[in-house]
Amino acid sequence: MEGSESVAGRLLGYAAMVLLLLVFIGPIIWFVLLAIRPAETYFSMPPVLSFKPNWESIRYTFFDPGNNAPQLLNSLIVAVGAVALNLPFSFPAAYALSRYKIRGRKHIMLWYLGLLMAPPVAFLIPYSILASLAGVKGTYFSMILISQTLTIPFSVWLMRSFIDEVPIEIEEAARIDGAGTTTILLKFILPMVMPGLIVTSMFAFVFSWNNAAFPLVLANRSTTTLPVGTLQYFGTAGVTWGFIASAAVAAMIPPMLIFLVLDRYVVRGLTFGSVKG
């Protein structure tokens, strides 16, 4: 197909490629520039492309005490906590769903998938009030716990696809040698699916990092996460655009880096393991 292509066809292809990058990457660069623009060029039209970088926004949001730097740490605590809590639940479940042909397996898998498609907004008000009643509102724990409604179903799906790829013979041999399920799980399966487990955990981290709905109602001022932290500059005068961009860009960087590192697995992660990219 490519060999017989005309010059015009190839040129058209390159033009489309450049357009693609302009449309989908251009806005991200534009927003990054906002974080380091002098305030008077935020909205100057035609757009000003060359300017002397102004580090004031970044200094204010991340180097002045009490602004966004603690939120960066909060996001990290909640996302790492959510991943850590989810593993002991999702790993055994993923193993069982991969290896045992139990009745209703399809329905259990679809039930997990259904949770990933549930409307988070429908649960916000009950979670908010119930967390207050339980006295855990504003704690990292409440956010980490509620995040499990996303991280567990996601991890079960993705991890299962990795466990499916581990040959069964090793386990069978171990079983004949008298190993129990716990031993098999921890001594044989775990080391073999470790790469898959790490990939799953990294995607689950992004999932949790980007979730703004639960921290929106469960966090307090000192435990709020970075994506939600951008809201604090919201509704005030236009001068805060630099602060918004600075906090937002910092929130963007970890997921982007993880996706770049996991390039090989991106399709698999985004489809919860159902498409092996």
């Binding site: 490629m17 991200i28 409307p119 988070p120 907004v121 009950p126 996706f259 159902s274």
Partner: protein, 304 residues
């Protein structure tokens, strides 16, 4: 690209008591059921009570189905349901079509195409709330990039701005979602198309089947399963949209961009009417379950 392979160990299975898999699965299910059942039952109870958080910290009296009646009578629910369905159907269709077109481009052998593919997914990695801010900046009627580009191209714009005009607000919100998620379709469909066996396509080519028909009658049916999964996922995610709306329009102007998710958010988090928002929660949960049920019934019958 096949979803899952069934790996049943027949010998091992006989040696094991039957409850082992359930012991392994049940902790996750119990935790999830608890995390879902508590809020849902709590909302169910509240949906029958008059309760405004501004007036008191506890429910203020049983009022039967009045919250449901109220949500349905003032058009808040039905109108936003209509808006949401429109946005969801248009959004899913546009994202799938554009994504497919981009996937076909990504399959071509051009210099730099791999780097383009790697970079293309970046919008999808951003938190929706941040995408909201990004577009609010770019839509700003006083010097935003998008109005400037459109005006420069000679396209007339509403004076109140793209987000401030009832005829464009919903589409401006949807455009942000399309920007974020079209790359998702492109990358996944690209991977699926890449896995289509070359011999099948070659045979069709020799038979003189046009490229368009190859796509429609050979390639798309082969990647049907993948396509269905991502269409279902995105359909539900757009249906549940509320954070983009919070940042971009707050449902306005008027009710022009009020999605179902935002209506619910407004009833509970802005008006503090726990009763009405709980009634809407249940109606939304039932609708979402019905749609997922339809997908599963029609699309996943032969699955696994």
């Amino acid at each position: 690209m096949s979803a899952v392979s069934i790996a049943a160990p027949p010998r091992a299975r006989r040696r094991l008591p039957d409850y082992t898999p359930w012991l392994l699965i049940s902790p996750s299910i119990l935790l999830l059921v608890a995390l879902i059942a508590f809020p849902l039952l709590f909302a169910l109870k509240n949906s029958f009570y008059f309760w405004n958080l501004q007036m008191g910290p506890a429910p203020m009296g049983f009022i039967g189905l009045d919250n449901y009646r109220m949500a349905l009578s003032n058009g808040m629910f039905l109108e936003s349901l209509r808006t949401t369905l429109l946005m969801t159907v248009v959004g899913t269709t546009v994202q799938f079509s554009l994504g497919l077109a981009i996937a076909l481009l990504l399959l071509r052998r051009l210099h730099g195409i791999k780097m383009t593919r790697v970079l293309l997914i970046m919008p999808t990695t951003i938190a929706p709330i941040v995408v909201g801010f990004l577009f609010r900046y770019m839509y700003d009627p006083n010097g935003g990039l998008i109005p400037w580009l459109l005006t420069s191209a000679g396209i007339p714009l509403p004076a109140a701005g793209l987000l401030g005009s009832p005829s464009t607000a919903l589409w401006a919100v949807l455009f942000a979602d399309i920007w974020q998620w079209t790359p998702f379709f492109a990358i996944v469909l690209y991977a699926a198309l890449l896995a289509v066996p070359g011999e099948i396509v070659e045979a069709a080519k020799i038979d003189g089947v046009s490229p368009w028909k190859q796509l429609l009658h050979i390639k798309l049916p082969l990647i049907r399963k993948t396509a269905l999964i991502i269409v279902m996922l995105r359909f539900m995610q757009i249906f549940n949209t509320f954070d983009l709306v919070v940042v971009l329009t707050k449902g306005g102007p008027g009710t022009s961009s009020r999605t179902l998710g935002y209506s619910l958010y407004q009833a509970g988090m802005v008006d503090f009417n726990i009763g009405v928002s709980s009634a809407m929660t249940w109606m939304m949960v039932i609708i979402v379950n019905a749609i997922i049920g339809l997908f599963v019934f029609f699309a996943f019958k032969d699955w696994d």
